[in-house]
Symmetry: C2
């Protein structure tokens, strides 16, 4: 594979918004590995270096786990403090959140754990009063003001310093993992700004979550540590193995769900996921979860389990979309103004979900648990029978219905904004609210009509036969499943979140049903939809079932000029330069001669340019008339003639070929499984044309009656 | 794709012990799918048929889940009854197991739940006495006798009716899923005999488990239902998608772990596992788990969770191995004789594991919990501090040590026998015993030396700082992980088994550590080792890192006669027949002419034989001198000449080619990812040679300094 011995540092790298060639990256890595293995026998130092190289994969995983766990912990603490800052301040220590502030106070009982003298609401601090309409309005006003300030700061920072920091990042990471290059998307600057603005955006109270963005943050960490090891920094294929594992670590810290993280990376995000990456992801997710638990941002492992929020990937194009800062301010304003009065939307969404999931034990003081108790009840508290709902439950039902409408509408508008935002928590919240409403309705029906056929066999009077909290949990899983089309990873994340292994069967049933229902509306999940909207060259796993052949897709088409090829021993430097200037192809096939059209290899445009430029500068006698030789030996040439330019070392001697009769489904399969960038088409050994990944994607779009021009990048 | 319009039913099928061509199977399915889609527009009936076809995948999953769940329930019930039959009989109802027998008795208290008058041990029934050395010896003798009878029956049934029913079956299923054909391995006969003999083998008390065999049973169910739908029965590729899902259902019922089953199928068993199969496996596993729970063989969901046993795949070749029946009888005899006196080996292994995992609560009456209580203890029962061990614990330690040695030795010998046998439970038992011993040792150290540095910071006197049960759980996971090299699926199965989500971090750490340690001894898990021992053509996921090229592997080698090829329009029927007689290749490349050697396609040996035979019988004028044409149009021939034979329809016009310079690592990657059977090698459009899957496997064995002849099948 002599074409891999790169003469100049830039040969073999890719340009921005281009697709990598997985087979080539793999070859390069094997080559590197072989060299190290050979060298390791030379000296002890080289042997130690080879050991370090072999373990560097695990080391990178360890570092990713540590850093992303730490960042997640810091983000949790900061969000906690800033969310409370919207309401008031801790006088004993400004950097304490409401809960921490009242922990330090010894005077409080469990019931009054939220009330302590050190914590003062803004209005109280400014006016001295604690009650009254004026105080309420002042608190309301300051709450909205803080929210606007946070969101303004977030959108401005994103706009000025790191435009790539907006959104959840999952569709882009999916595209990057499939082999696309987006420079800077996982850079240090993005990491820094995304971390800071994520805190601001979540604290502002917008209907968005931190889970998707945390996956992006973890991938940025992964990219950062890749740059420390040439094994990963110089090989785009190996780098993507690390990024897959980093995505797993990101979900692991976002939900406190290490197994769910590995499965999410496998099912939803990754493209190539060999078993080796599975083990490494597992390790990274483990370290990250462990680090986060050591930091223990809430002093309460249970709460970490529930501190779940959202991903968002859909960029809706509204008129406001042209003015991103204004858009964020308006949406934040509306969110804050509408959210404050309703208790179910004022609190953080994760607290809401936590309350909706919970069952009404005897200790529960929530409005949702205002049932009319049977005075004769002598049962233990964990076996409360179904009871008629009290007035509190009915008012809670109304508020929940309003909250449901509000959440659905505001989430749709929040998703497209230019700030870090995620989709998980809003979806789960919508599902949980709907589930709880249905659950309470079924419970009351079962109580009042326990002779109906559906309740008859399993719902005797006085029995505890309907658990509204379980309906909320199943609803959350179903809604999230419908949005993302996750199945296995969804169920695992849900039971890692709730600790409820016994509900595995209803959760699985919800996941499968929501997938069926959602698939009936359209096959793609929200991430795929977003990838399509952005025109990324992503080859998804759907089956291609049309009866077209390679010959229908390859270029040149009929009536088009013939394919731009080089010959192995009759092209001059000038010819090559003209070809490069006249076309913008990424590479050129090399044939024996224009008459025989027999293929011998493929050469990259970038490598050609670099080599000719270099030869003209440094190599004596290489002029425009010099003949370019791709053969093994250049013939002896009289000294009067210009010196030949030998370029066999940049020629890929094993280009991928298919025959013109190959069905396109096979071609799509080959592109998908081998991660090709292009493929040459031959018939009986003669070169006929070329198919690039973009051609395949355009053809697929065309076959699905979509606009082929929606595929924008190469 | 005209070569797919099969003129005779047998064209396009594979022979026994051959490898399938995944790309071709996929093409055929797409073709079938297209035809149905076209037809569905013709009439309502066709439309309904196309809907049925689309949903048949989910229907097959439902059927597999139902049948494998039912079979697992029946096996559980039968094993329970027959295991107790070795000790005694229920007088009130002969078909009741010991536990069921005493359930029906109202006289028993919880402590005496195992003692009831209806249940009589054999000696009691025969002699009337319940105690004494003679009674003990008679019970011992009858226990051994029943065990010998069961195992004799099992090995005889396997030997006479279904030799494929022995072992765990997982290595073979892995090989089948990778594309190998073993006819009858998943047949109805195997299903029946394996189910019956599995019950006998487990009941005989041998050190083996039912989990691996249950995977085999579920796959047989999958294969059975495939035959109901031509979509699956006629396409080996689609059939394997169903079998992957069936394997997941098998693990799901074996452990009561549906998610673990899906992951096991993904990580350990399957070869091609697209997302669609993931969803279907998930559904099949769900239905199977649900069915099993509905049957609820133990009347106790908790017990199903623990009723785990073993897989075995290692066929050791002992002298006894030549006499399988004698071997089984001897091993059963030794097992029964040695197991009866030690309480930790007499009971079923799953009960043993369950006891080892459990913590010593206040109610625990086990010998393992014979600690010296502090008389001043006033703590609640779930927070018992570390205590000094009593004499019961010390004698339990000795018995456990003996049981550990016995289990390790007897399991090694049991694995190779010709009866259905699994590996999971013996491995877990060995790990759990070792873990419990270490746990008790650490606990006593911590109690007596709580000032040592390692205990100082977290182990104050009187605190509960060491839980021996957790050590047992981690030990079981580590041992199982070391044997099978599972990671993610292992942890998920462990926590689905134990319901202990909180121990996820130690379990993950154990899985990763045991994988590292085991990998240091050898890269392959027990299933891969078994596949190698049997010489199956399995291309594993290990990376190929040698610097060889396609030209080094292809045949013909130097000094070998040239490649056997057909020409497109100058070979006669007689030439073809001679070629078929003289060679045993599976197919032949077709070239333009022997001079140009330009490749136009590939034709299967089997299809050639069938077509020529058929033409000679039915087609007038086809004689030995007839020219075989693979071109699109045969030229007009004078009536005096023999009629030509047109065979373009059996010609594969898109054979897979690589150049001779292609590195072998790329070739291996292509074979693995695309599931090829063979690949042609060209240079500048000229055909040079051929590489088959067997050539690749031989080359890999050669490069790893193994005997290339160990690859036995094609």
């Amino acid at each position: 594979m002599d074409f891999l011995d790169e003469p100049f540092p830039d040969v073999g790298t890719y340009e921005d918004f281009h697709t990598i060639d997985w087979l080539r990256e793999k070859s390069r890595d094997t080559d590197r590995h072989r060299k190290i293995t050979c060298k390791s026998k030379e000296s002890i130092w080289e042997f130690i270096k080879s050991l370090l190289d072999a373990w560097s994969g695990w080391l990178v995983m360890l570092l990713i786990g540590l850093l992303s766990g730490t960042l997640a912990g810091v983000i949790d603490l900061a969000v906690d403090w800033m969310t409370d800052l919207k309401e008031g301040v801790c006088l004993s220590a400004l950097w304490y959140s409401h809960e921490q502030c009242c922990w330090t106070s010894n005077e409080t009982t469990f019931a009054d754990r939220d009330k302590c003298p050190q914590w003062q609401k803004w209005a109280e601090l400014m006016t001295g009063y604690t009650e009254g309409a004026g105080v309420y309005l002042l608190n309301y006003f300051l709450y909205v003001l803080w929210a606007l300030f946070f969101s303004f700061l977030a959108v401005s920072l994103v706009r000025v310093f790191a435009p790539y920091a907006c959104g959840s990042g999952i569709p882009e990471i999916k595209t990057i993992l499939s082999g696309f290059i987006i420079r800077g998307y996982l850079g240090k600057w993005t990491l820094l700004i995304k971390t800071v603005t994520l805190v601001l955006a979540v604290s502002s109270g917008l209907s968005l979550g931190k889970e998707g963005p945390l996956v992006h943050v973890a991938c940025c960490c992964g990219n950062l540590f890749c740059s420390l090891f040439s094994k990963y920094s110089k090989n785009e294929g190996k780098r993507r193995e690390v990024l897959s594992a980093a995505a797993a670590a990101g979900v692991s810290v976002a939900f406190g769900a290490p197994i769910g993280g590995v499965l999410f990376s496998l099912e939803e995000v990754s493209y190539y996921f060999p078993l080796k990456t599975l083990w490494r992801s597992f390790f990274a997710a483990l370290v990250a979860a462990f680090t986060l638990r050591s930091i223990n941002p809430f002093g309460n492992n249970r709460l970490v389990l529930f501190y779940v929020e959202y991903h968002t990937p859909w960029y809706m194009t509204t008129r406001l979309g042209k003015y991103p800062v204004l858009e964020v301010i308006v949406v934040t304003g509306i969110t804050a103004v509408l959210a404050f009065p309703n208790p179910y939307t004022r609190r953080s969404t994760s607290e809401l979900i936590s309350e909706l999931f919970n069952d009404c034990g005897a200790l529960e003081s929530s409005q949702l648990c205002d049932y009319i108790n049977n005075p004769n009840m002598t049962r233990p508290v964990d076996d409360i029978p179904d009871r008629p709902a009290g007035p509190g439950v009915y008012s809670a039902l109304w508020q929940l219905t309003l909250a449901l409408v509000f959440k659905i509408v505001i989430t749709i508008f929040t998703f497209g904004m230019k700030i870090p935002s995620g989709l998980f928590i809003p979806s789960m919240a919508v599902g949980a609210i709907a589930g709880r409403i249905v659950g309470i309705a079924v419970e009351q029906m079962a109580y009042h009509h326990h002779d109906w056929i559906i309740f008859k066999n399993w719902c005797r009077p006085g029995a505890d036969c309907v658990t509204p909290g379980l309906y909320a949990m199943v609803g959350a899983a179903a809604c999230l499943g419908g949005v993302t089309r996750m199945t296995v990873s969804l169920v695992v994340i849900m039971f890692e979140l709730t600790g409820g292994l016994e509900y595995i069967v209803p959760l699985m049933a919800a996941a499968v049903t929501s997938k069926w229902v959602a698939d009936a509306f359209g096959k793609e999940g929200i991430y795929e939809a977003h990838i399509q909207l952005n025109g990324y060259p992503y080859l998804d796993q759907d089956e291609f079932t049309h009866r077209t052949l390679a010959t229908d897709v390859m270029r040149p088409r009929r009536n088009e000029p013939p394919l731009a090829v080089l010959t192995q021993d009759s092209t001059t430097v000038e010819d090559v330069e003209t070809l490069i200037k006249d076309t913008d192809y990424n590479g050129f096939p090399v044939v024996v001669s224009r008459e025989s059209e027999r293929l011998i290899g493929f050469v990259q445009r970038r490598d050609l340019i670099l080599n000719i430029k270099n030869a003209r500068q440094k190599q004596d006698g290489v002029v425009s008339n010099s003949v370019v030789y791709f053969t093994e030996d250049a013939p002896q040439i009289p000294a009067s003639n210009p010196q030949p330019l030998k370029l066999r070392r940049i020629l890929n001697l094993s280009p991928f070929t298919v025959t013109d009769h190959t069905p396109m489904e096979t071609v799509v399969d080959i592109f998908r499984k081998l991660g090709l960038r292009q493929c040459l088409v031959t018939r009986s050994g003669r070169l006929l044309g070329i198919i690039t990944k973009k051609d395949v994607l355009r053809h697929m779009a065309h076959m699905m009656n979509q606009d082929p021009e929606s595929i924008m990048f190469n």
